[in-house]
């Protein structure tokens, strides 16, 4: 697992090309929104980072379930713990970007850096819940126990993900609704021109590739960290 796969190198190149394409579309192809001006363009990568943040937490939840289902019967169940950590770490980084860019967008549009709106509150709870996941793991020395506790935690913490996603439908909010904005119950909806739609779709695709690439790299690092931990344990015994 330590040797870099040829396919990972190919994926690296594809991801860089897609990311550059999405960036060029945002900067030069997407039209400027006529009320908000240039800051509206933050929305393309803001939503894309939110998407892969939630995807990371979803991967962690699935890996946690598989770990708990297999750790008594399979020797290689540990790999699912490595996948879960990778998913959480990437999810945390991109959710942080999402929160900060949202705040920057809000300043000229809502005339405030922050408001305790349901969406902003639930996304903050989600970020803190997963930050606590890493703290929990850091406090447990026994690898098997750490993996078991981490798996249970990643499943329980996932409740915050659908809560965040649906918060703009469940409660009254000033946060714009992007997906399904034709729904009359969706408040703050806005329409996109075809150029905006294409840029948005490209942003989602490129960040999905970024997610897969980073996850693969982070899993490789997880295997290496596990090997180092095993070596340390052997030397201390």
């Amino acid at each position: 697992m330590n040797a870099k796969s040829k396919w990972l190198s190919v994926l690296d190149v594809v991801t860089i090309v897609l990311f550059l394409t999405a960036t060029i579309l945002v900067f030069f192809f997407a039209p400027m929104e006529r009320v908000m001006g240039l800051v509206q363009k933050v929305f393309y990568f803001h939503v894309a980072t939110a998407w892969i943040g939630m995807l990371g937490f979803f991967v962690a939840m699935v890996a946690g379930i598989i770990y708990l289902a297999t750790h008594r019967t399979r020797q290689d169940a540990k790999k699912w713990d490595i996948v879960a950590v990778a998913g959480v770490e990437i999810g945390l980084v991109f959710t942080l970007i999402c929160i900060v860019t949202g705040s920057i967008w809000a300043r000229p549009i809502w005339n405030s850096w922050w408001t305790w709106d349901p969406r902003l509150t639930t996304v903050t709870i989600m970020e803190l819940a997963y930050a606590a996941y890493l703290m929990l793991r850091a406090g447990i020395e026994d690898p098997e126990r750490r993996a078991r506790f981490g798996a249970v935690y990643s499943i329980v913490a996932f409740i915050s993900v659908p809560l965040t996603f649906f918060s703009i439908r469940i409660w009254r909010t000033i946060h714009p609704v992007v997906i399904g904005s034709s729904d009359p119950s969706a408040s703050g909806a806005f329409d996109m021109t075809p150029r905006m739609g294409l840029t948005f779709a490209m942003s989602l695709v490129s960040f999905s590739f970024i997610f897969i690439t980073l996850l693969w790299h982070r899993i490789r690092m997880g295997y290496l960290a596990d090997k180092v931990e095993q070596l340390k344990l052997r030397l201390t015994q």
Partner: protein, 49 residues
């Protein structure tokens, strides 16, 4: 019709955060991976002795 709001500074700030945080994370992955490789090498040498 009114001109769009002048929000260039916020646009620059937003994309600086996006590119900056992603770059920091990539560097952190690279540094941690390199450190783990060094640890692995050192521990294997100690085990062989």
């Amino acid at each position: 019709m009114d001109a769009p709001a002048d929000t260039l500074n916020y646009f620059i700030a937003g994309y600086s955060v996006i590119f900056g945080v992603m770059l920091v994370y990539l560097i952190s992955l690279f540094v941690r991976f390199r450190n783990l490789r060094q640890d692995e090498k050192t521990l294997e040498e100690m085990e062989d002795e």
